[in-house]
Point group: C2
Chain length 212, copies 2
């Protein structure tokens, strides 16, 4: 069965899923505390680390399983807004972005696609969530599509009822301000079956599976 999935969506104890003030120096704005307990080295499997395999890392490792394409918002790709400056910007991730699949970037300012040797490619599309999902599904070759964030993009897809699975991670930190996902989503839980588990690190992993 095809699924649209969200993974490792970190949310602070006071409900913020990202910081404000993203700049070139701070890809996640002032939300660094949120990401301190996240280990991105396991997103393609627990074999990626020398450190102990913890429950947190096991759960984070679902990110890449059976994913054939990602959709992300422009703010995840870079800090710019409006027309793209002529600065050679190709994302935060250098020569080997970790996605390894086609990635569709929602923007009102389309530009040429970028391809990397490791299988990652960036495609810029000015379209609706439904249409972006159609494109991504086509590119995914029978695998699942990840909605990669940021939180505003996840929220838009949830509003259109386009998410089948969410892995939310609540992190015991207080940010004081930032970006939330719930504003237009009151009673979202009624549409999902939810299971939670807490780990010794203080994280709580919530698995939201859409009712069928």
């Amino acid at each position: 069965m095809f699924r649209t999935r969200v993974h490792n969506l970190l949310i602070s104890s006071d409900g913020y899923a990202a910081g404000n003030y993203v700049t070139l120096d701070k890809p996640i704005g002032d939300a660094g505390a949120l990401f301190r307990s996240f280990d991105g080295r396991v997103i393609h499997g627990i074999q990626g680390i020398d450190d102990p395999v913890t429950v947190d890392r096991a759960m984070f490792s679902m990110w890449g399983q059976g994913i054939g394409a990602e959709i992300m918002g422009r703010r995840k790709f870079g800090p710019q807004s409006g027309e793209w400056p002529d600065d050679g910007w190709e994302g935060w991730w250098g020569e080997a972005p970790p996605f390894l699949t086609p990635v569709f970037i929602l923007t009102h300012y389309p530009r040429e696609s970028i391809e990397f040797a490791n299988g990652t490619s960036f495609h810029f599309v000015d379209t609706t969530p439904v249409e972006a999902l159609r494109l991504a599904k086509e590119a995914a070759g029978g695998l699942d599509v990840r909605i990669g964030g940021g939180p505003t993009t996840v929220s838009e897809f949830l509003q259109d009822d386009l998410i089948d699975f969410l892995h939310i991670v609540t992190v015991p930190v207080v940010l004081g301000s930032g970006v939330q996902i719930g504003e237009h989503l009151a009673a979202l839980e009624n549409h999902f079956i939810v299971e939670s588990v807490s780990t010794s690190s203080g994280l709580t992993h919530q698995l939201w599976n859409r009712k069928t």
Copy 2:
């Protein structure tokens, strides 16, 4: 870092990791209750199922991550003992065994290797755990080696201090009799860092990481 890993080692509340009396009709002997809560469809990733992604399934899905070869005991491969009968036996799994890698089967009765179209191959070796691990590591092409069981085989590798990681799953069932793993392993926990988490199904997942 190379790891020797054990996954989804199910143990009953009374400490049994397998049943007795394995026959052609009962691959796991009289331990069926132990496997009722195990979902093998996710061993190569959560995309393998239509059902909700639970914490249990997420944890089970580590099985195939970054594994390049498996070692198993003869009793996992089949119910026969002694010389192999001329019965065309190629394991329990039909034309597409789920391993997708070379598998080394420990037996005092070597026979010809068997190859399957899906990448699985069975190799029969009459040797020690150390030597079997050397062969498997060579075949794994830089990936990890899984010690696939049964429990007697896992116990032998533990006795020789050859296991880096174990995922033990305690299952709330009582078997009354069966195969245990601890007999020669008193105080094994001193060699490992252990983390546990319980889920809403009643399972407890224990992650044992060998101290370095």
